[in-house]
């Protein structure tokens, strides 16, 4: 079965610092999705990556997908308290139809003032 590994599991960062979260698949992905979840709440869609080498940015968050489509990173520049939460990567693989996404375990991000 396909699995996604996320690292680190948790991250404590001082406000204003940059950080990176990683997501790795053992097989080539079809699409990679980044979501943010606040504790006990729903998943908020951040970005979708589908092409090898693709990079997308929204405000201070940049997501990249490597050329092999097996590894993605999420980078936050100049972190703010509003960035705190759980970041989840989700993926689907070639051959899927309306299959659901497989998610990683998440990265808990804490921003220290």
């Amino acid at each position: 079965s396909q699995e996604l590994e996320q690292s680190p599991q948790s991250l404590i960062v001082q406000e204003g610092k940059n950080l990176t979260i990683n997501c790795t698949s053992s097989k080539t992905l079809y699409g990679l999705y980044w979501y943010k979840q606040k504790y006990g709440e729903g998943l908020i869609f951040l970005m979708m990556l589908q092409k090898g080498g693709e990079e997308k940015s929204h405000e201070k968050i940049t997501a990249k997908l490597d050329e092999k489509k097996q590894q993605s990173s999420l980078h936050i520049t100049a972190s703010q308290p509003s960035h705190a939460g759980i970041y989840l990567c989700g993926a689907d693989w070639p051959g899927g139809g309306a299959d659901g996404l497989t998610f990683g375990k998440g990265t808990h991000l804490i921003i220290q003032p």
């Binding site: 006990g40 729903g42 998943l43 908020i44 899927g96 659901g100 998610f103 990683g104 375990k105």
Partner: protein, 114 residues
């Protein structure tokens, strides 16, 4: 911005009882999903639904689960005879296309089985 809405936000049910969780997907979306998240664990796929039938289901989605689109707006998940281990957060999601568009999630229903 359109959003997926789920009701109730919290459901407490006695073991063995039936429960129905409700979702209103984004109006122009055609693909619907249920996921669950047991406390402290990963978000897990349960089932996908398109054109009034199940497209895919996971091993978790056994005979005690069923899904339905009873009208043009609602999408429901029924658990026939709840067990303690069904306690979890259940998320509904919808998308305009299964792999070309992202899934948008609701805020979830927290199901507590006593």
């Amino acid at each position: 911005e359109p959003e997926v809405t789920q009701t109730p936000s919290h459901q407490v049910t006695q073991m063995g009882q039936e429960v129905i969780l409700r979702c209103v997907p984004i109006s122009n979306h055609l693909y619907f999903y249920w996921y669950r998240q047991i406390l402290g664990q990963k978000v897990e796929f349960l089932v996908s639904f398109y054109n009034n039938e199940i497209s895919e289901k996971s091993e978790i989605f056994d005979d005690q689960f069923s899904v339905e689109r009873p009208d043009g707006s609602n999408f429901t998940l029924k658990i026939r005879s709840t067990k303690l281990e069904d306690s979890a957060m259940y998320f509904c999601a919808s998308s305009a296309h299964p792999q070309l568009q992202p899934q948008h999630f609701g805020d979830g229903t927290r199901l507590s089985i006593l």
